[in-house]
């Protein structure tokens, strides 16, 4: 499991989990799960196009992901955000269906692109992945404060001269970068599950952004490593484990916090301090549709 070609898989999966954990925190905070689903899913069309003309798959994914992010930003300036996202998604998938019908030898590869592939990471893909991942982390570091500000207190952000529209587009581009690098491992459909589940679980435990990001990365790492190990042993698709474990981790987090709250509510010596800690203000909700 740890020898030869599998080393590439472990390295790639680790990078994927770190990026998904970091970017996912902001996806959950800003309530942009639809865009985080649409950009990787739509970039599938780019991969199909790249195969058709014999180009690198990552290049095709990247062009469609960035195009999708810009398209969502452009369309939502003139209409509702969720409508814009849905239309951009179906347009990219329609193009994907067109490219797919032109190339003949593609059918089995479709599955691994959609749902991920444990064994298919070539060494020459690792370097571009690492580069994209680094760019992602740098972009999040640069955007860290304005992203938090526009997500939590949009009024204050605007008063300080931060343009919410520009930050939103920049954030969608970060999601596009993350999608491009993670898709080859977990697939276009499950990449999004890895961004939502761990980050949502982490946010139920802590209200501090930096701690939530760290926790979300840790949970994402656990899910990906566990998923790959099981997929390697059982031969079932890695997407199944990553997809369901993402939701399961959030379910566990909710149960755990509910149980803790139930215990804290019961009177006990020293229970007062616990209750104070638990009623510490949570992060306010992200504004809907922004």
């Amino acid at each position: 499991m740890f020898s030869g070609f599998m080393v590439n898989t472990w390295i790639a999966a680790t990078m994927v989990a770190v990026i998904a954990g970091v970017v996912g925190f902001f996806v959950v905070l800003r309530g942009s799960a639809f865009a985080a689903h649409a950009i990787p899913h739509g970039s599938f069309g780019g991969a199909a196009g790249a195969v058709l003309i014999g180009a690198n798959t990552i290049l095709g994914l990247g062009i469609f992901a960035v195009g999708g992010a810009l398209g969502i930003g452009w369309l939502s300036r003139r209409g509702r955000h969720d409508v814009a996202t849905a239309l951009a998604l179906v347009l990219m998938l329609g193009l994907g269906a067109l490219f797919l019908s032109f190339s003949v030898e593609y059918a089995p590869a479709v599955y691994s692109l959609l749902f991920g592939e444990v064994l298919g990471i070539p060494a020459y893909d690792l370097l571009p992945m690492a580069g994209l991942g680094l760019a992602c982390v740098l972009a999040v570091l640069v955007l860290y404060r304005p992203l938090l500000l526009t997500s939590i207190t949009p009024e204050v952000a605007e008063a300080r001269g931060v343009r919410p529209g520009r930050i939103e587009t920049a954030f969608l581009l970060v999601v596009a970068l993350a999608a491009t690098m993670t898709v080859p491992v977990v697939g276009v459909l499950l990449m999004f599950s890895l961004m939502i589940g761990p980050a949502a679980a982490a946010r139920t435990f802590t209200s501090s952004p930096s701690r939530a990001i760290a926790l979300s990365v840790a949970i994402a790492l656990a899910i990906v490593w566990f998923g790959i190990a099981i997929a390697y042993v059982t031969n079932y698709p890695v997407g199944f484990f990553v997809g369901t474990l993402g939701a399961v981790s959030y379910g566990f987090a909710r149960l755990w916090t509910a149980w803790r709250r139930g215990r804290a509510a019961r009177p006990s010596p020293g229970g007062h301090a616990v209750r104070l800690e638990l009623t510490a203000p949570q992060l306010p909700a992200a504004p809907r549709g922004r």
């Binding site: 959950v28 309530g31 942009s32 799960a33 639809f34 985080a36 689903h37 003139r78 209409g79 509702r80 969720d82 409508v83 996202t85 849905a86 239309l87 998604l89 179906v90 347009l91 998938l93 329609g94 193009l95 269906a97 067109l98 797919l100 019908s101 032109f102 059918a107 089995p108 479709v110 599955y111 959609l114 749902f115 991920g116 697939g187 459909l189 499950l190 999004f192 599950s193 939502i196 589940g197 949502a200 079932y236 698709p237 997407g239 199944f240 484990f241 990553v242 997809g243 369901t244 474990l245 993402g246 939701a247 399961v248 959030y250 909700a285 992200a286 809907r288 549709g289």
Partner: protein
Amino acid sequence: MSRVLNALFAPGFFGSGPVRAAVVVGAVVAVVTGAVGVFTVIRGQSFAGHALGEVGSAGGSLAFLSGTNPLWGFMGVAVVAAGLMEVLGLHRPRSRDLATGLVLGAGLGCAALFLYLDATSTTSTGVTVTILFGSLFAVSQPVLPSVVALSAAVLVVIASCYRMLLLTSLSPDLAAARGVPVRAVAIAYLVIMAVAVSLAAETIGAILATALLVGPPATALRLTKRPGGAMVVAGLVGVAAVWIGIVLAYDSYYWPPVDHGWPVSFFVVAMVFVLYLGAGVVAALGRARRTRHVAAPPAMRESGCEPHVDADAA
């Protein structure tokens, strides 16, 4: 005259069985998703609508595995997924996005497993593409009666709950104050949407289901502010997009590259998108004309002096 007809409709168009089935099913599905979709757009539940179609594909692949009719698989799983979303918090704006996302992620994970099992048990690699992308030309004839019956049922339910649905969609607080059971109506609407979307996803594919659920209603709401009128316009736009898409896809058998036609999904999606953009231009032109004719300062109109359903309001 016949030369023109031949140029528009490639020879054999009207005699082909699959084309006839596609024309009927496409129109039925477009009308139903148009009617349901107007509320989807007003309520801001496009993500949930899209997610139900994709999660339904898990049911479709499961039904394929067990040899039952995929339509029931799609529908059963979509309705269950709708219930899960509601339990997780679709009714609260704060957690709506997250609830949908979590259910979608888990559903897609299950779809990955079932599709994998489908592919290994039947040695046909095309299952993934068939279930996820679908094709209007591959509509199976025996499903037709159930599709039409279910579509009629959805339309009847929408028509009978029209006022309650409209009130809860536009102003939940007002509806609650008037004694409308807001939560129950929301759940009922979610089930209707699940049925409509899975009908569409099973017959014409998940891509087109989302395109028809969101595109034509959003187009219609750009053209008219009346919800009832928007439902009619959405149905017309959807039917037009589907029929033009079918004609183009049929004609494309004679386009390069020659050996096969272009996918019908591509044409329908492209038509939906073009009509949406076109409606935006028409609406902008209409606004510009009104601004020129009416003497009132534009600020007054923008501040909401005209009572209407504002599709762009959050």
